[in-house]
């Protein structure tokens, strides 16, 4: 078989040294011709055709970060030269993880496989290893919970580590979920309880991964367990301590819409359902035990231990599941929308809390009002269930998303939750006007399109055109934008603006990636092993990704992915197959394997 190898680049920054790969390719058997096309080459099909004729090439291998971009040109040329058009093979560096300068060997092996006409993943099969049946799941949002439950239900030990004081993640903050509008709590809380008293799940809340050593199949992970200062087992959440505690600070769980005490429980259904002490806020802790300590005296079960220290725990696990989820894009960065400056400009999450039946306003949609704060003795914008209801609400899509100045990617969930917001506004405040500013309405999922139609029918005004700015004119907010489909400029006075804020990888993702040696993509999410074929595996042996931390996803997709990870972990434990590191394979190894595979294929056909 006479093979021609062409190397080209489509991304500006060529990370792999194409010439080095070219030189390697020249010495491969069957390779008759090697050409370096360079960056975004202008291709002339006729020239290529003639080249193919001259060199009597039977197979073309296109190598580069995304060689697919050139394929049609070469397929055409090969066909024109009366070759077999199926014989154009791709050697995609990006697809198979040759994504930086150091991965030159990987790039070579990818080319080697393509020259022999065998798929790289089939050749570069991670080696089998004995896998410790215990699994570590990092992050206890819906993804982590789902994965943990499924693995534990299969009778395997799971350690579930969560940074915040309770499991549940962002979903626990939501009221309703699109497009069915069923309540998030009804779905999530049973799962949370199940996790809470599953004999196969050991839960570490308020804890973080400090260090990872060991390797595939046998990792040793050190967990930093921050002191809870309350005995979670003994505590019966009787609320006495909270009532007595004099310190009150903003509640993280309620997105700073309300206050909580220094000893508190994030929300009534929290798991573990026990109180905890905020060491930054607690007077006893900050004063080194000199002041306050009121809760100590009052606790009827003496389960408060303010002196408790942080500790570390070492865990031996075979598999690690990354389910670290996401954070909201910081809406302050888009100054023209006035978040942080204008009191009634809310982020999506703040609105979620506000509409939540068990949230700070008991589900009432109200405006913030100026109040004199007793402690700080200064006027403050506060939110009260009795607050005035907005007459007009604007929802702005793509805040921080699809924007070269912030995040170029689409956050995937905003369109739908914005439509949900519109519904909630119209439902709870029928007299209020609701305007929705979007660029493309991305209602792609099962039942989403129908949902969108329903919302439109409910009388929400959807405006195709992104809001340019939110200003104030004589005390009232005005959103300025272009209504493109009606070809006019609009300036709409509103009382409340909800920013459909995009999502970004959770803080600490970078550190975790470094610890686990898992690559991240250009947007900061964890990179999967193969975009199409292995969306839940990673380069690293026995390390899996589930949910948002791999890229924006809605709940159904997240749950599905979480279960998929469980499958991977379980069969990893059962068979040990594919639990090794991909990078552990040497170039010669891959070459030999590829040749063997080629031979066996020829034999079988």
């Amino acid at each position: 078989m006479r093979v021609g190898v062409y190397l080209g680049q489509v991304r500006g920054s060529s990370v792999i040294d194409l010439d080095a790969v070219a030189n390697y390719a020249r010495n491969l058997a069957d390779v008759e011709l090697v050409r370096v096309l360079g960056l975004r080459p202008k291709l002339d099909p006729h020239r290529i055709r003639d080249e193919i004729r001259e060199a009597r090439l039977e197979r073309l291998v296109l190598a580069g970060d995304s060689p697919g971009y050139f394929k049609p040109a070469f397929t055409n040329a090969l066909a024109a030269a009366h070759g077999n058009p199926e014989e154009v093979r791709l050697a995609s560096f990006r697809e198979h993880g040759a994504t930086d300068r150091e991965r030159l060997e990987r790039a070579k092996s990818i080319v080697a496989c393509a020259v022999l006409g065998v798929p790289f993943p089939l050749v570069a099969e991670k080696e089998a290893r004995v896998v410790n049946p215990a699994t570590l799941v990092i992050g206890a949002g819906i993804a982590g919970i789902q994965t943990a439950l499924e693995i534990a239900d299969a009778g395997r030990q799971v350690y579930l580590v969560e940074r915040s004081p309770t499991i549940g993640g962002h979903m626990a903050m939501f009221d309703k979920t699109f497009p069915t509008l069923d309540c998030a709590a009804c779905i999530l809380t049973p799962k949370m309880v199940a996790v809470g008293d599953h004999e196969r799940i050991e839960l570490f809340t308020n804890a973080e991964v400090a260090e990872v050593c060991g390797g595939p199949g046998a990792y040793t992970v050190q967990i930093r367990q921050r002191a809870r200062r309350v005995d979670a087992e003994a505590c019966v959440s009787c609320n006495v301590c909270t009532d007595i505690c004099p310190i009150s600070v903003w509640s993280e769980f309620d997105c700073h819409l309300t206050h909580r005490k220094a000893i508190y429980i994030p929300f009534p259904q929290a798991v573990p359902n026990a109180y905890m002490v905020d060491p930054e806020a607690c007077t006893w802790v900050t004063s080194g035990g000199k002041k306050c300590g009121a809760c100590l005296k009052k606790c009827p079960k003496d389960c408060i231990h303010l002196e408790e220290e942080d500790r570390t725990v070492d865990l031996d696990v075979g598999s690690i599941v990354l389910a670290t989820g996401y954070e909201l894009f910081d809406a302050r960065r888009v100054e023209r929308y006035g978040y942080g400056r204008l009191p009634n400009v809310l982020t999506s999450l703040e609105f979620e809390r506000m509409t939540n039946a068990s949230g700070p306003t008991g589900g009432r949609i109200v405006l913030k009002t100026k109040k004199l704060d007793k402690r700080s003795k200064q006027e403050d914008w506060v939110i009260e269930p009795s607050g005035p209801a907005p007459q007009s609400v604007a929802i702005i899509h793509c805040v921080g998303s699809r924007d070269a100045n912030y995040n170029p990617y689409c956050s995937r969930v905003c369109c739908m939750y914005s439509l949900k917001f519109a519904h909630l506004v119209r439902e709870k405040l029928p007299q209020a006007a609701c305007h929705e500013f979007y660029i493309d309405m991305r209602a792609f999922g099962k039942g989403y399109e129908e949902f969108m139609e329903r919302i439109k029918a409910e009388g929400t005004r959807v405006v195709r055109g992104r809001t340019a700015q939110v200003t104030t004119e004589n005390g009232r907010m005005v959103v300025k934008g272009e209504d493109i489909l009606h070809d006019r400029l609009v300036e709409i006075p509103v009382d409340m603006v909800i920013l459909a804020v995009g999502v970004v990888a959770a803080s600490g993702t970078q550190e975790l990636a470094r610890q686990l040696m898992v690559p991240r993509d250009e947007d900061g999410w964890f990179s999967e092993l193969n975009y199409n074929g292995d969306p839940t595996l990673t380069e690293r042996g026995g390390v899996y990704v589930a949910g948002m931390c791999q890229g924006p996803k809605d709940i159904p997709d997240t749950v599905a992915q979480a279960s998929a990870v469980a499958a991977g972990v379980l069969h990893g434990i059962a068979s040990g197959r594919g639990s090794g590191d991909l990078s552990a394979l040497s170039l010669n190894e891959i070459e030999t394997r590829a040749r063997e595979l080629r031979a066996s294929q020829l034999a079988s056909s």
Partner: protein
């Protein structure tokens, strides 16, 4: 039945209950109730000493029933059932009265709250007297799994299960593996090779000893219940057609989709105009390296039309999810094959939501693709260009972003045909007894709780047979289905909670009302005996059947009419 010996234990939960409810009064009231041997109060019933107190009392008084008046059963029922079991009592001979969440925490008026607590406790006592000892069942779980469909979803699910160490039978209707993906050249948004992906999967499947592949085959019948199905498959694979039957524990339905028939939209002229092709026809052109018009010229102008059959009133209301990215892929591919061809792309909303997709959209723009937006529910009209024009066809449409009525030159038009449920989906749904939505897609048991399971235990769905999906989501879902099954098989036998419905055959009139009613089809009709009976393994104990049975033959264990009515009596006397 002998007079029951009931012990009542009232928790004051620190002061959570006792600060409003006079627990002592409740205790005294309880003591005088029929069958009550002993009644006690304690600070924390849930704590270890509290639970030991129950055990001690059982032994001391030979109690055979226990009532705990404390918090919500949703909080601690499990705990106290454990305590009873430990004390040698059947856990179902236990009742809880919720006097915290639903009494002390919501009422301030002490006498009224105490009265209510007493009533709740009384209700529990009356009920527990009629409780019956129940035992859970276990059924065996056959480790074999049947996978319907040899597309990327089926292949992936099969591999996952096989590598988990369990046998799989992969049944494919057509004569080859790969499904619709086998017709695709490159995948969006990274233009990776679809063929490499399939070759890899198929090779693995072919050489895996745990997988039996049956081509040219289809499922004819499926009987039994989770863990214990029997499938009848008719196959023409290899020698003469034959039917075979085998046992299996679970089923993965991965039957995929079919493309929308473009000829249904007459003004696109597909089938009449030579150079109007569907996306799949265009894929063939790509693979054969012939991006050209029927008369063999490279196109000067190409046009791509989105949402053919999708997002429209008269055809399918839903979005087919993958076409936008595929369309962008075609734009890139045309530019690559015919660099000086002008590509127009007619879309409604650009659904570039996946990883790397927005960037791919931008690359489309950078490649100078002309994006034209048309309105939902209005269709571009394609007609032949007048002779002497520099193009074959003209597409006329109201362009939304300019507000102009425009005509677009085109030598080649690609129709992005949407996905729709396969013609045989109803048949499959009936065979494995799952339901379809109005569009014919299979319905998951819950879109968020459980997106791969169905309301029928042991039947799972994966891939585009549930709804349109791209490859990564399909693969993930297939693995998810496999994961659920792996977990169940790993547990070996299936435990069935003691709480389920049962039919008293002598009372059953065979009216079959309950058969229709059961959302889990857990009630079978025995046509010989003309009686219905409940498959305990499949029953989820909602009790709908019990409520509906005209002859009162269905008994919802642990929620019998007697028990509930006893509770009513207890509350009100």
């Amino acid at each position: 039945m002998a007079e029951p010996k009931i012990g009542v234990f009232i928790c004051s939960c620190g002061t959570n209950i006792s600060h409003v409810v006079d627990t002592e009064a409740v205790r005294e009231q309880a003591l005088v109730l029929p069958g009550v041997e002993t009644a006690r109060t304690y600070r924390y019933m849930c704590s270890n000493p509290g639970q030991e107190m129950i055990g001690a009392a059982v032994r001391e008084h030979g109690l055979d029933r226990v009532v705990v008046a404390a918090c919500s059963p949703r909080m601690h029922e499990r705990t106290f059932r454990g305590a009873c079991r430990a004390a040698g009592l059947n856990p179902y001979l236990f009742e809880m009265a919720n006097i915290r969440e639903q009494c002390s925490w919501v009422h301030a008026d002490r006498p009224a709250a105490t009265l209510k607590a007493t009533a709740l406790t009384r209700a529990a006592v009356f009920r527990v007297a009629r409780n019956e000892p129940l035992d859970g069942l276990t059924a065996e779980m056959c480790p074999t799994t049947l996978v319907l469909g040899g597309g990327i979803a089926g292949l992936t699910a099969a591999l996952e299960l096989a590598e988990g160490g369990y046998p799989v039978v992969l049944v494919e209707r057509s004569d080859r593996l790969g499904g619709n993906l086998a017709r695709v050249d490159l995948t969006a948004p990274y233009l990776d090779s679809a063929r490499d992906l399939l070759t890899e999967r198929i090779t693995r499947v072919r050489r895996h000893h745990n997988i039996t592949v049956m081509l040219h085959s289809q499922l004819k019948a499926l009987s039994g219940f989770v863990g214990n199905f029997t499938a009848t498959v008719q196959t023409a694979d290899g020698e003469a057609p034959r039917t075979i039957a085998f046992r299996l524990g679970n089923v993965v339905v991965a039957t995929g989709y079919r493309e929308f028939d473009a000829s249904r939209i007459t003004h696109y002229g597909w089938g009449k105009l030579p150079n109007v092709v569907t996306s799949f026809e265009f894929e063939r052109m790509l693979r054969s390296g012939r991006i050209e018009t029927k008369d063999g010229r490279p196109p000067r102008y190409a046009a791509i039309i989105h949402c053919v059959g999708s997002r429209s009133r008269e055809f399918h209301g839903y979005c087919s999810r993958v076409c936008c990215m595929t369309a962008l892929k075609y734009a890139q591919e045309i530019k690559s094959a015919v660099p000086d061809c002008y590509v127009s792309d007619l879309y409604i909303d650009m659904h570039a939501f996946g990883k790397g997709c927005e960037d791919f959209y931008k690359r489309g723009s950078e490649a100078k693709t002309l994006f034209l937006m048309y309105g939902k529910n209005e269709h571009p009209v394609i007609r032949r260009a007048p002779p002497g024009d520099d193009c074959e066809m003209l597409i006329e449409v109201d362009e939304q972003l300019s507000g102009e009525r425009i005509e677009i030159p085109a030598d080649l038009v690609v129709l992005m045909v949407g996905m729709e449920a396969r013609e045989d989906s109803a048949e499959v749904a009936h065979l494995v007894n799952i339901s379809q939505d109005k569009d014919g897609w299979f319905i998951e048991s819950h879109p968020k709780l459980d997106p791969v399971a169905t309301t029928t235990e042991g039947i799972y769905i994966a891939g585009t047979c549930a709804a349109p999906k791209d490859i990564p989501d399909t693969v993930a879902q297939a693995r998810a289905a496999a994961g659920r099954i792996l977990a169940r098989i790993a547990r070996g036998r299936i435990e069935i909670d003691g709480v389920f419905a049962e039919v008293h055959e002598e009372r059953c009139s065979g009216c079959r009302i309950c058969n229709e009613l059961c959302p889990y089809s857990a009630i079978e009709f025995d046509s010989e005996k003309r009686r219905s009976h409940v498959i305990a393994a499949a029953c989820k104990a909602c009790g709908a059947c019990a409520a509906a049975c005209p002859s009162g033959a269905v008994k919802a264990r642990h929620f019998t009419s007697e028990q509930v009515l006893a509770q009513v009596e207890g509350l009100l006397s």
